[in-house]
């Protein structure tokens, strides 16, 4: 016997090392997945943590004495008088009355607690109920954005509180009494964009997104399905067909911003269509989503077994009848799921819409396809770039709404695939 370890011994020694390596390799895989999933978790918690306060609004409830003399108003039904009347004074007086320490000298500080739009709300209330003049009513108004930020983020170092010490003391006191309160932010869901964060809402962006998606859907679905039918069922094997196929695959991988350049050059500069309208946005997104829909529709048509076609042909159906009466209904679920996924992509798309001018500041909720509009992702982009921190929580809240739309669309697609999937 020599001192050399035996072959078996060598193997046994190396085995340990090899198994360690094996375990390490496996750990790398788990680590990679953990990194990816933790990125997802961090992203979601960050956005929810930043944005849940966006769903809350801060209101102030006061007993407002609607004194006609104070407001220079004796007939609330007279439009001209309503326009000229002073609706700030009753609010300031009501607030002073709510805060025992406040005097006439603190007018400006007190006024800093009430939203500038509260006077508009008061005017509208009086316009709707002219008989309120002269009475005292308990009314609830939006508080000033600074108060909103203070109430929500008093302990948060990231937000700068613009209230002074005296105002903070008042707000604390009013909050204790329940006069200043937070509740569900309905304004966020019922208004358009605004320069004032506490008045800013996403309804305009949601309607804009829906209109844009409507155009995208009614154009891209039929065109995509028709193109898929042609390529799968009718196209002869020639150079032109190959060229179309290569083109579709390439278009699917073209950066989205290039479609924005196309929209700008063709629809706006060449055809003279207006900027920042849902029609142009929808057209650009149609061109962008078409490849996705065509590719998924072709896959759906391919999965219909040839026996169905042969059976239909066997009883004398023409090629078109085979396709329209037999193949298409069977492929439809697959086509629909593919289109929903394509639409979800289009809904989240921002870059091409920036180029066709959908970044404009638009307060009104768009009423039609040719009205200036913005869409949800662009609204997020606009708010995210705002220097006012109160807009950041609105942007996060808008992201949550956007993600809710996307997740429900994807869930619908998955549900449809499960429900309608057919095996032959």
């Amino acid at each position: 016997m020599t001192d050399q370890p035996s072959q078996a011994e060598l193997v046994r020694q190396s085995l340990k090392r090899r198994y360690r390596k094996e375990r390490r390799f496996r750990a790398y895989g788990i680590l990679a997945i953990a990194i990816a999933l933790s990125a997802l978790v961090i992203l979601f918690t960050d956005i929810i943590g930043k944005g849940y306060t966006g769903f809350l609004k801060t209101t102030i409830t006061m007993d407002v004495h609607l004194d006609g003399e104070m407001m220079y108003l004796d007939d609330p039904t007279d439009a001209r008088q309503l326009k000229m009347a002073d609706f700030v004074e009753p609010l300031v007086q009501a607030a002073i009355k709510e805060i025992p320490e406040a005097t006439e000298d603190d007018r400006d500080a007190v006024r800093g607690l009430i939203n500038p739009y509260a006077s508009v709300a008061l005017r509208d209330a009086l316009k709707a109920n002219p008989d309120w003049l002269g009475s005292t009513r308990s009314m609830t108004f939006l508080s000033h954005t600074d108060v909103d930020v203070y109430v929500k983020h008093a302990g948060d170092g990231g937000y700068s509180i613009k209230l002074d010490e005296q105002q903070k003391a008042w707000v604390d006191q009013l909050q204790e009494r329940g006069a200043i309160d937070t509740s569900f932010n309905d304004v966020f869901f019922s208004g358009g964009d605004s320069r004032d964060p506490s008045k800013a809402g996403i309804l305009g962006a949601i309607v804009g997104s829906l209109l844009t998606m409507f155009i995208t859907l009614i154009l891209s679905f039929p065109i995509g399905v028709a193109a898929a039918i042609y390529l799968e069922e009718f196209a002869p094997q020639n150079k032109l067909t190959d060229f179309i196929e290569v083109n579709i695959n390439n278009l699917a991988a073209v950066p989205s911003i290039i479609f924005g350049l196309l929209g700008l050059a063709v629809f706006i500069n060449l055809f003279g269509m207006p900027r920042s309208v849902p029609v142009v946005g929808g057209l650009v997104l149609t061109l962008m989503t078409l490849p996705t829909i065509i590719i998924s529709s072709r896959a759906a048509i391919k999965s219909v077994p040839p026996s169905i076609r042969e059976a239909a042909e066997g009883i004398g159906a023409s090629k078109m009848q085979v396709v329209l009466h037999h193949v298409l209904p069977l492929a439809m679920p697959g086509m629909l799921t593919g289109s929903i996924i394509g639409m979800a992509q289009a809904l989240g798309e921002t870059a091409p819409l920036l180029l066709i001018g959908m970044v404009a500041f638009i307060v009104d909720v768009p009423g039609g396809l040719f009205d200036s509009a913005t869409v949800l992702p662009v609204q997020v982009f606009l708010w995210a770039g705002s220097p006012e921190l109160a807009f950041i929580e609105r942007a996060s809240a808008a992201i949550m709404v956007l993600l809710a739309f996307l997740i429900s669309m994807n869930a619908l697609a998955i549900w449809m695939r499960k429900r309608l999937e057919r095996r032959w």
């Binding site: 990816a36 042609y230 073209v254 023409s318 921002t350």
Partner: protein
């Protein structure tokens, strides 16, 4: 009528034509002894009449609606007194928006010169006229063509083959839209790019190391509007893409290996859709996350370590972009790894190799070309990504390889040059199209190479 309403009206007319055609074919068949004496079913006669009625009218409507805006603009500008005719296209668009603001009532008449008021009146009149003539023409075409189609219904007419061949042509034109889109992209960037090179020399664009489209550097400069060297933009783009790849490739590849080789069905069923969720999140959300959470975090971290970092770093944008690309890399690698035949795996395992050795020595080399193709596709996606870099990468064109500095990318510059006020004959806006052309070519090249590699590789085991 508005184009949208006119469209609906034409559809209604086509439906009416369908029923009239259907009725006529039946009434023609009655004296012969029933519809079995017709060459086709009544449905096809109706469909034929509807197509005759609808298609020509919709083509007219589409063409008119596409070009009326431009034609009206030209007519309005042409009617202005000679001294007011704008010299450049920038001035022209300013003037046009002024005129249309007056026409829509947004700008009170008292604020503008008399010719503009006249032009606004003319614009309103022309719009009304155009709308009237469009409605009249479309309805006339629909009714006439529909009537002709209806009149020509005969029992011997093979309506089915006609309807089917029209449908086939319709399907073909939908497929051909892909070619049209590509042509549109090429022409829309090519024209402006050529005009750009008329203003800025070729060499400056490709070899210049300065990018500052806003300011003139020296008075005697050719463009006299700034410097248009694209090198700092491309290095910035490459830096961010490289960072993204450093994040995405190892994480994506290792997750794909784990999911395809080690994980059981249950884990795979949960983890895979979760990973794919990363791909479904809109890029503006990643941009928001990068700009407001990751970038401040990185600059704070760097500051606490005593390293100097700007508030918008290439690292923040690239890192977040890498996270976005993970599912892309992982699902492509997963496909390729699964395509490696089981026999290779079994052979290696039978020789006593551990799973990781099999993976590293056998499957990975076999899958390498496919994975390379996937990575190239991911690179092309990183280069073309816009929102993350627009929100998190910054605007300063620095020629640097330091990931803690601010860089800018091609897509960022396209967006900044083309949003806001713009005139379409300045080197500044044309530069955006030149950058777009470069971006299109670069990503196209990467995609073609990647698709070739992937396809070639896949054929090996089939």
């Amino acid at each position: 009528m508005q184009p949208a309403n006119l469209f609906l009206f034409t559809i209604v007319l086509a439906i009416v034509a369908y029923f009239l055609g259907y009725a006529r074919s039946r009434s023609l068949a009655m004296p012969l002894g029933g519809i079995r004496h017709l060459k086709s079913l009544p449905f096809y006669y109706g469909a034929r009449a509807a197509l005759w009625c609808g298609i020509p009218a919709l083509i007219v409507l589409g063409l008119w609606a596409a070009f009326q805006g431009k034609v009206i603009q030209l007519l309005v500008v042409g009617s202005l007194p000679p001294e007011m005719v704008p010299s450049g296209s920038g001035e022209a668009s300013l003037l046009l928006s002024k005129i249309s603001n007056v026409a829509s009532g947004a700008l009170p008449v008292g604020f503008v010169e008399a010719p503009i008021v006249e032009a606004a009146e003319r614009l309103t009149a022309l719009r009304a006229e155009s709308r009237f003539f469009m409605s009249a023409l479309v309805i006339a075409v629909a009714v006439l063509a529909g009537f002709l189609g209806w009149l020509r219904i005969r029992p011997r007419l093979n309506a089915r083959t006609q309807v089917e061949s029209i449908l086939k042509w319709l399907f073909f034109s939908c497929a051909a839209l892909a070619i049209l889109t590509t042509i549109g992209i090429i022409f829309s960037v090519a024209f402006e790019t050529i005009r750009f090179f008329g203003k800025v020399p070729f060499t400056e664009f490709f070899f210049g190391t300065q990018w500052s489209p806003q300011t003139a550097l020296r008075a005697d400069q050719v463009a006299a509007e700034g410097a248009f060297g694209m090198i700092p933009l491309f290095t910035g783009t490459l830096l961010i893409s490289a960072i993204a790849m450093v994040v995405a490739v190892p994480v994506g590849l290792l997750s794909a290996i784990y999911l395809s080789e080690y994980a059981n069905r249950k884990v795979r069923g949960v983890v895979k859709p979760l990973l794919e969720m990363l791909a479904g999140i809109p890029t503006v959300v990643y941009g928001f996350f990068a700009a407001l959470t990751v970038a401040p975090f990185i600059s704070d971290l760097a500051a606490s370590l005593g390293i100097e970092a700007s508030s918008q770093t290439a690292l923040a944008a690239g890192g977040v972009m890498g996270v976005m690309i993970i599912p892309f890399v992982s699902s492509l690698s997963d496909d390729v790894i699964n395509a490696v035949p089981q026999t290779l795996r079994d052979g290696s395992l039978a020789l006593g190799a551990t799973q990781s050795e099999t993976m590293k020595k056998v499957i990975f080399p076999a899958a390498l070309p496919g994975i390379m193709g996937g990575v190239l596709l991911a690179v092309s996606r990183a280069i073309g990504e816009t929102m993350i870099v627009v929100m998190a990468a910054g605007l300063a064109a620095n020629l640097t390889a330091n990931p803690l500095e601010t860089v800018t990318t091609v897509t960022v510059q396209i967006v900044t040059l083309l949003t806001g006020d713009q005139e379409f004959d300045s080197a500044k806006t044309l530069a955006a199209f030149a950058l777009g052309a470069m971006l299109f070519l670069a990503t196209l090249l990467l995609n073609v190479i990647a698709l070739k590699i992937v396809r070639k590789y896949r054929e090996q085991y089939d």
